[in-house]
């Protein structure tokens, strides 16, 4: 018997899961809260570690969406779910209710609000921007005029903004900001060839394929500098220049450096859009508030609610590659589960 599978979120994980479910006889309904699919990927320019064009990847994800059994509803705010006779009843803010045999949460992540780290001055000093805003500048080719006068610029990349930080309420490591900082440092060196770039880091967690190599490339081929120390505060001095304070922990001395631009590498936080859904189902969360699966190792896509599955960064910080793999794994689990349901 054909069933209805609801996917909440039309980002990379949601799109990939829908594609993977294309071969099943079930009806797949994607509920997307924005006007279009793609999630945060659509605001990204090039991806680490190989500078792949984000828009090309998004296009191919959207293209593989099966036309025969899938449907996308845009501008849908899912705010509640309840269990009903072995199914899940999905409530939208519009008042509409959808009965689903299985639901996949692919609600993604929020970017850390850098203003919460007031000592870094985002939203206060105009030359303090976030990594996401920098991507936007690359996408739209919209760099501020003061960076385009051809003069040498000094740029700081501040790692771990809103990650590994009890004060920010986020003890977790977002794990992708390290490599993003390396990637963006290289891009800045390419774009502003006379500029010098300094990365302020605690640890460089180059866990993925070709990450370490890119780090080495940044140092050897692009002359990117790395200073091991967490930034304590940033203050505007004159002409919009910024004073950055950190300890160079390898030489063991505090230092102050002046920069023209500071890029804050903001981390991943749990999506607020998933909060009310999780609350309505009393879904357990991990320490930092990401949705918790039944078992981190062997049932990473399953939840304690029958028929409710997780994919992508709603569960933990993941790269695009990992999200896509994760979505396929979740799709497989959903098919298995629907088969079981049929037999009962």
């Amino acid at each position: 018997m054909n069933k209805t599978i609801v996917i909440v979120g039309g980002g990379p994980a949601g799109l990939e899961a829908a594609a993977a479910l294309g071969s099943s006889p079930h009806h797949v309904l994607i509920l997307e809260k924005e006007h279009n699919t793609g999630g945060k990927l659509k605001n990204w320019h090039h991806l680490f570690p190989n500078f792949a064009d984000a828009s090309e990847i998004l296009k191919s994800l959207e293209k593989s969406l099966p036309l025969n059994n899938s449907e996308i509803k845009y501008d849908c705010d899912v705010f509640k779910m309840e269990q009903m006779d072995g199914n899940l009843l999905v409530s939208l803010k519009s008042g509409e209710k959808i009965k689903a045999d299985a639901v996949l949460l692919a609600t993604g992540f929020d970017l850390f609000d850098a203003y919460k780290k007031e000592e870094y001055g985002h939203g206060i000093y105009k030359n303090v921007i976030t990594s996401s805003e920098l991507e936007g500048m690359f996408v739209n080719n919209s760099f501020p005029d003061q960076l385009k006068d051809g003069l040498p610029k000094k740029i700081a990349m501040v790692h771990c903004v809103g990650s590994r930080d009890k004060k920010a309420g986020n003890m977790h490591c977002s794990k992708l900001c390290c490599i993003t900082g390396v990637k963006q440092a290289i891009e800045l060196r390419k774009y502003l060839s006379k500029s010098s770039v300094y990365n302020f880091y605690m640890d460089l967690r180059m866990y993925g394929q070709h990450f370490e190599e890119l780090y080495q490339e940044a140092q050897e081929d692009y002359g990117v500098n790395f200073i091991r120390g967490r930034v304590s505060e940033i203050a505007e001095i004159s002409d919009g220049k910024l004073q950055v304070k950190a300890e160079d922990t390898l030489s063991g001395r505090p230092m102050k450096m002046i920069f023209d631009l500071v890029v804050l590498l903001i981390g991943m936080t749990p999506a607020t859009s998933a909060a009310s859904i999780a609350q309505s189902l009393a879904l357990p969360k991990s320490g930092s508030g990401f949705l918790a699966p039944v078992h981190q190792h062997i049932s990473a896509n399953e939840t304690c609610i029958p028929g409710l599955f997780l994919a992508g960064t709603c569960r933990e910080p993941l790269s695009l590659q990992e999200s896509i793999t994760d979505a396929r794994a979740a799709a497989l689990k959903i098919i298995e589960w629907l088969k079981l349901k049929d037999n009962h």
Partner: protein
């Protein structure tokens, strides 16, 4: 792990101040003292965290732990919720209890603090009074202070203080029964014994340096030595 580390762990300020350090250096980056002295709160956390008694003993005998101004800026920044400033308080206390403070120039100044501020609390009820800031010992205060110092009763009257007189108001004389209560508090809580300990260790050091420490106050060679000595090696 050893004796000193275990004793540090008995101090709540150590337990509260250092849970786990990942050596990010944000405390040193914000520390006003690190900007001025050869001082690095991160390294102190790291040393204590390693639980190696030999390094801890070295720390307790060094000038290092006396550079902190206890402003607690470090508390505002640490991403792990540590407070190196609290750890410093625990280290200082242990250094005083072990007598290690007399091994360093900055540590020896505990003697001057005990004689000046310690005595002042017990005899007058005030930590600090204007009369203690003698222009001869404090040239940095400049000629205006010298004039104020020489005309204290008149200046105090002019600014509306009730200087050394009975009744309410700033810098009033503390009533004898209140003073006796303060002394009792110091007696009962171990403050007096602690002062005595500083005295004894300091006198031993004075003997070792062939300097007289007197019985009271700052009119002696050891006091002058610890009060004015500056090796110039602190920056």
């Amino acid at each position: 792990m050893g004796r000193l580390y275990e004793r540090l762990c008995e101090d709540l300020r150590c337990l509260e101040g250092l849970k786990s350090c990942m050596n990010c250096g944000v405390c040193t980056a914000i520390c006003p003292s690190a900007e001025f002295y050869r001082y690095d709160p991160r390294k102190i956390c790291d040393t204590v965290q390693r639980a190696d008694d030999e390094s801890i003993e070295q720390l307790l005998k060094s000038d290092t732990i006396w550079y902190c101004g206890e402003c607690m800026s470090c508390k505002t920044r640490c991403p792990r919720g540590n407070t190196p400033g609290l750890l410093i308080m625990a280290l200082r206390k242990l250094s005083q209890e072990m007598g290690y403070f007399t091994d360093s120039e900055k540590g020896r100044q505990q003697f001057a603090i005990r004689r000046v501020i310690g005595d002042s609390i017990l005899t007058t009820g005030y930590c600090m009074r204007p009369i203690l800031v003698n222009p001869a010992n404090h040239p940095e205060q400049g000629p205006v202070w010298e004039w104020v110092y020489n005309n204290l009763p008149e200046v105090m009257d002019k600014v509306g203080a009730n200087y050394l007189k009975d009744g309410p108001g700033a810098l009033r004389r503390i009533a004898p029964e209140v003073l006796s209560e303060i002394n009792q508090i110091f007696q009962v809580t171990g403050g007096q014994d602690f002062f005595q300990l500083i005295e004894e260790f300091s006198k031993d050091k004075a003997d070792e340096m062939c300097l007289d420490a007197g019985e009271l106050g700052g009119d002696n060679a050891y006091f002058s030595e610890v009060y004015t000595k500056n090796s110039g090696n602190h920056h």
